[in-house]
């Protein structure tokens, strides 16, 4: 089931070794977004100064790869001497080089990571390493994507706040591809729908406000679902606040900027910038905000496109990277993925015989394959292999080629070699995917899901078989969820009989991993899809 059409990028030219595709080719120039995020990080680190130890929250290494060229290790120019993952102990530092004099934390504004930071600070205070009056703060905590009252309160309750400098870093979204931005809010559905926590909505609104500032205010806003409406309402409120701040700043000359901020998100820089009015430069036609709850069925169904199947069968795509076995990407030269990776990204980190392989539209072949049905995959790969072979052969046959022709061909060789390497990898991956899709279990399950969606009776026998085969709980629960979403009332009653299978296992805690791109992703599209118009643009001046 396809969620959204992809904008054809259609580039076959060799790519220079810089950020490309991962932001430059889509309908919006996401390179600008990336540069904005990167510059903010540089500014923050420069403000800290000294030799720094950068401590990253879980998963932030992958996210930083999409922000800074070379990831966290590429920050050496900003004074980052060590990079550590957030853990109860930071470990010993290199004995040869001097230890860092500043510790910079990049953590999400959540209780777990912040509590760990507080523990570090408390330990340092106990050992007498900090606390000298007048000294510059040793600990800097940058909360992503904003500071919250509760987290600051947590630091204060732990007695750590006087010793740390707290500031927000708006790493709210990263550009995974030319047309995809990810907010990385994995548990937003759980938070919003089950716990009633509106924090993810606020994050989304904050991000959209920034997007508006960068690319202009959309001419119209469409929302689907309650949560989407909540986001847009918050966005309208933020607009009113920004407008007031602007008027306050303009009305009093130099004022407003010096009003002290006590907590909460930093007022974005653009609010006081002398940029033209965002309403005047609307480069975006429509903003469509979708609530995941509008369609809960799709993530429960087994997908059939190439990209989604890589996610299912090969252990998941995290931050637009898949972990592939080493022999899939074996290559003659050292730059195993240099051709297809966003050029200067570091050589894929290898561990346990696996390598991280970037999957994005930079790779022309992947851009062509990613949304193909698995059935068409083989033909397409074969055709591409044949095309490359023919290009070589045509040149060889042409014995009396002119110098210009030879020159032209030689120029094309790196591009062809890159496509060939990428082709080999994708052939290997496609074989692995095909092994999964050809299996009896996969087909049976897919058929059962299909039958369910077409309104037939749920296949209890299949579920029995899966239980017997020792299917892991998340996969089983996914099927049961699908059944309960589409089944009649009687069907739901029947499902309760499966409850006893999970008795005693604390299923309340077993989380079902939602499949690829289900939450907090923003797809940028060139033309708006037809849809019911339910929201309208709030003009801030009207509400002032």
């Amino acid at each position: 089931m396809k969620k959204c059409e992809r904008v054809p990028s259609g580039d076959n030219e060799p790519s220079p070794p810089v950020w490309r595709g991962e932001g430059g080719l889509g309908p919006l120039d996401l390179l600008r977004f990336r540069a904005d995020t990167r510059q903010e990080l540089f500014d923050l680190l420069e403000g800290v100064g000294g030799r720094q130890c950068l401590v990253l929250d879980a998963g932030f290494r992958g996210r930083l790869d999409h922000v800074v060229l070379g990831g966290a290790d590429g920050l050496q120019n900003c004074g980052v001497a060590f990079v550590r993952d957030l853990a109860p102990e930071l470990g010993v530092f290199d004995a040869i080089s001097p230890p860092p004099d500043r510790v910079v934390y990049l953590v999400r504004a959540a209780p777990g990571p912040v509590a760990m930071v507080a523990a570090h600070v408390r330990a340092a205070v106990r050992h007498g390493e900090v606390g000298a009056a007048g000294a510059a703060p040793r600990f800097h905590v940058f909360m992503v994507p904003r500071t919250t009252l509760l987290c600051t309160q947590l630091l204060e309750d732990a007695g750590a706040l006087p010793h740390v400098h707290v500031a927000p870093y708006r790493l709210d979204a990263i550009a995974l591809d030319a047309d995809v931005l990810s907010l990385g809010l994995d548990a937003c559905l759980l938070d919003v729908k089950v716990h009633g926590d509106p924090a993810p909505l606020e994050c989304a609104a904050q991000f959209l406000a920034r997007l508006e500032q960068l690319y202009g205010t959309p001419r119209e806003v469409w929302t689907f679902g309650d949560a989407a409406r909540g986001v847009v309402e918050r966005l309208a409120h933020a607009d009113v606040r920004a407008e007031r701040a602007r008027r306050r700043a303009h009305g009093t000359g130099a004022g407003a900027a010096d009003i002290p901020r006590l907590f909460g998100a930093a007022t974005p820089r653009y609010e006081f910038a002398d940029e033209p009015d965002p309403y005047a430069r609307a480069g975006v036609d429509a903003l469509v905000v979708l609530d995941r709850a509008v369609d809960l069925v799709t993530p429960m169904v087994t997908p059939l496109t190439y990209e989604a199947l890589i996610d299912e069968a090969l252990g998941g795509i995290v931050d637009a990277r898949a972990r592939l076995p080493r022999d899939f990407v074996r290559d003659g030269d050292d730059g195993a993925t240099a051709g297809v990776a966003p050029g200067a990204a570091p050589a894929p980190a290898a561990c346990n015989g696996h390598v991280e392989y970037p999957l994005n539209s930079d790779d022309a072949l992947y851009a062509e394959l990613r949304d193909l049905n698995v059935e068409e995959l083989g033909d397409r790969l074969g055709a591409r292999a044949k095309a490359i072979r023919e290009a070589y052969d045509a040149f060889r046959r042409n014995a009396d080629a002119s110098i210009a022709e030879i020159h032209d061909f030689v120029k094309r060789i790196p591009g062809l070699a890159r496509i060939y390497r990428s082709l080999r990898t994708h052939v290997a991956v496609a074989e692995r995917v095909a092994r999964t899709t050809d299996s009896r279990a996969f087909r049976e399950r897919w058929r059962a899901e299909r039958a369910l969606l077409e309104g037939q009776e749920p296949a209890y026998d299949l579920i029995e078989d899966l239980v017997a085969a020792g299917e892991p709980a998340p996969s089983l629960l996914r099927l049961l969820c699908l059944q309960s979403l589409v089944a009649s009332r009687a069907g739901v009653e029947a499902l309760r009989a499966f409850g006893c299978h999970f008795l005693g296992r604390g299923v309340a805690r077993a989380s079902c991993r939602t499949p690829h791109r289900s939450s907090g992703d923003v797809r940028v599209r060139a033309d708006p899809a037809a849809g019911r118009r339910v929201g309208r643009r709030w003009h801030p001046l009207g509400a002032l």
Binding site: H195, R496, C500
Partner: protein, 678 residues
């Protein structure tokens, strides 16, 4: 002054001086008591050893501020009765051994404002200026009279000596000026001048600035003087003169000199003349070197200075002082003197924020005794009409706070409606303990942080008796959720109790959530008894509402399962049941056949009981049995189960199990044939 504890009982203070924010005192035992920063919350007093004793007492002392001393710390210079000088710093005293340089002891010392020179006055009336390193003598001047009452620096290069009715100003090269007065006078040193105060007058004494001297020197041929003179006589002739001199740099310097002279001048007519001279020069400058901006800035500053130098407000500051003070401080001083109109105009004129002035005006107005008789509405209208005229968004929160302080709560509430920043509004409302309004404001703003700000304040206020805070929280639908999230994630201590209480002890208790919480806590329990207890509690909570009867039933079943598993473990002496699902429990019961031969019938009965109780379908039971028998290697039982009657699940699972456990091909083929036949 508080003596440090070790000195308090025996010593008394004989001399003390204030220097910036530091306070230094000399005791009768010749010890120094120093307080670095008297403005600190807890001023710290420490003693410094001077190395002197009662037999060799100090005559005078001077203090070097930390920002002027070479060490970066506070230093004290003491003169002794044997004509020497001792420098005391954090490393202790150091005698400079100046016995031979002075004939008589030094009776007064003064450090220059730039910290580079020290002026010393001996008992014999000789003024000596030395460098701070005590190595070079810069000036020696014999006053040939009794020592003066005061010795001060006037600017950075001249020393003022002051007797009761006379003053002597000594310049850098030993030239001097004498002033006499019929009245007794007192002199105060300032950054670039001296202020002489008599009972009827306050005068400023200042050395003429170098630029002014350059212009007015009798035989000055400097371009600056030419510019100045050109205003008076023969403008056209000198114009030609100026044009031919194409020395841009010199002309620039000349213009600068005129600008500086204008700024240093006190009389407006003379200021104008200097500025006119500067403009005359500016005309001749080529455009890239234009000095227009400097001239305009100087004119602006002069206008401000002339205004504040008037009889009202009577703030006579020199340009140098104004520059050090900054316009912001000047505005503050004007506000303290209640000169709001002037302050507003100056801030408008200089392009500064007018908000502080407006706020200060409103707050002062509210504090005046006259306004107490006015009605709230009238006062509010008055304030608003005055503030709105200046077309900017005034932060009303501070004004409202002032109104509240003045005891006018209703006026404060009216004013707070005009505040545009929600954060300020909420903070003030919370400060006024208007919790309900604050919470409403926060909810309307849709900012989570603001809601939490209100919520935590209310939550904290709940510990002191506050009758309706619970109503307040549970009246709004979203708020209890947020409070629970706070309890769950951020209250490490007794969060379970807080969470449980918030779920159950409210007006609309949420028993499902409370039950879920109890179940979660049950899984965290280590002991079986604790877990059973928690589950019982959960079942009781679920039973409160009809909507959660499914959960209640499931919890009961879970309890039953736990009890059964506990029984199995005790009976068969194994520990493989607790924490298993029904499927796994059945699997284990089948697997136990091989080790507990004597209990096979009991085990079979238990399987039946489990199946009946939990309504396990036959199909699943067959699967479990096949897998369990194969896994435990009970092949006889396995074959018997397969062949005694046609299995419900077909023969495929048998074949798979045999394959999985690598059984001989012959057996597998038998089953395969059976599968094929079916």
């Amino acid at each position: 002054m508080v003596l440090s504890p070790d000195a308090a009982d025996k010593q008394t203070i004989v001399k003390a001086t204030v220097c910036g924010s530091a306070l230094v005192a000399l005791t009768n035992m010749m010890n120094l008591q120093v307080c670095d920063d008297v403005r600190a919350t807890v001023p710290l007093v420490f003693s410094m050893l001077s190395g002197l004793s009662v037999s060799r007492p100090a005559i005078a002392f001077a203090v070097v501020k930390p920002d002027l001393s070479s060490s970066g710390h506070l230093e004290v210079i003491l003169s002794t009765n044997d004509n020497s000088v001792i420098l005391v710093d954090s490393n202790g005293p150091e005698d400079q051994l100046l016995h031979k340089r002075f004939q008589t002891p030094i009776v007064d010392m003064s450090v220059a404002p730039n910290g580079r020179f020290l002026a010393c006055l001996t008992a014999g009336g000789v003024l000596t200026v030395m460098s701070m390193s005590f190595s070079t003598k810069i000036l020696e001047f014999d006053t040939a009279s009794s020592p003066p009452a005061q010795m001060l620096w006037c600017g950075e290069d001249s020393v003022m000596l002051c007797w009761e009715k006379a003053m002597l100003l000594v310049g850098p090269y030993g030239h001097w000026l004498r002033f006499s007065s019929k009245r007794s006078l007192h002199v105060v040193a300032e950054a670039d001048c001296c202020r002489v105060i008599t009972d009827g007058l306050c005068e400023v004494v200042q050395r003429i600035p170098a630029s002014t001297g350059l212009i007015h020197h009798a035989d000055s041929t400097h371009l600056a003087a030419m510019l100045y003179d050109a205003i008076e006589d023969l403008p056209s002739a000198t114009d030609a003169n100026l044009t031919c001199c194409s020395l841009t740099v010199e002309l620039q310097n000349a213009i600068d000199a005129n600008i500086f002279s204008a700024l240093a001048e006190f009389e407006p007519s003379k200021q104008k003349r200097y500025l006119r001279a500067a403009m005359r020069g500016e005309k001749q400058l080529p455009p890239p070197f234009s000095k227009t901006a400097e001239i305009v800035l100087a004119a602006r500053n002069l206008r401000v200075l002339n205004h504040v130098r008037r009889a009202r407000p009577g703030l006579f500051v020199t340009f140098c002082q104004y520059k050090r003070l900054s316009p912001f401080m000047l505005i503050d001083r004007l506000l303290v003197r209640n000169e709001h109109m002037l302050a507003l105009h100056i801030s408008q004129y200089l392009g500064m924020s007018q908000t502080p002035v407006l706020i200060n005006w409103a707050c002062t107005k509210l504090e005046q005794p006259l306004v107490t008789c006015k009605v709230d509405e009238q006062l509010r209208n008055e304030l608003e009409t005055c503030l709105v005229t200046h077309r900017c968004l005034v932060p009303y929160a501070q004004i409202a706070a002032a109104a509240d302080m003045a005891g006018r709560r209703s006026l404060a509430k009216m004013l707070i409606q005009r505040e545009t920043s929600t954060l300020e509004r909420i903070k003030l409302l919370l400060g006024m303990q208007e919790y309900e309004n604050a919470l409403k404001e926060a909810l309307r703003s849709m900012q989570i942080d603001l809601v939490y700000l209100a919520l935590l304040s209310i939550d904290r206020a709940r510990s002191v008796p506050c009758p309706n805070s619970d109503d307040l929280i549970y009246k709004h639908t979203d708020v209890p959720c947020l409070l629970r999230i706070h309890y769950r994630d951020y209250c490490w201590r007794d969060r379970r109790r807080l969470l449980h209480n918030s779920l159950v002890n409210s007006k609309s208790p949420s028993y499902v959530d409370a039950g879920n919480l109890a179940v979660k806590n049950g899984y965290r329990e280590k002991t079986i008894e604790g877990r059973i207890m928690k589950f019982r509690e959960a079942a009781a909570l679920f039973a409160h509402s009809r909507a959660s009867c499914f959960q209640a039933k499931q919890t009961e079943e879970e309890l039953e399962l736990l009890r059964l598993q506990h029984g199995f473990e005790e009976r068969f002496g194994v520990s493989c049941f607790l924490g298993m699902s029904v499927t796994e429990t059945l699997h284990n019961l089948f697997a136990l056949w091989i080790t507990h031969r004597q209990h096979v019938s009991v085990l079979k009965a238990q399987v039946d009981r489990l199946q009946r109780h939990f309504k396990v379908p036959e199909r699943r039971l067959s699967y479990i049995k096949i897998q369990a028998l194969a896994a435990s290697g009970q092949w006889d039982e396995f074959h018997r189960f397969a062949l005694e009657r046609r299995p419900l699940v077909g023969y495929r699972p048998f074949v798979l199990a045999l394959l999985h456990h690598s059984q001989p091909i012959s057996i597998i083929s038998t089953y395969f044939k059976l599968w094929q036949q079916a």
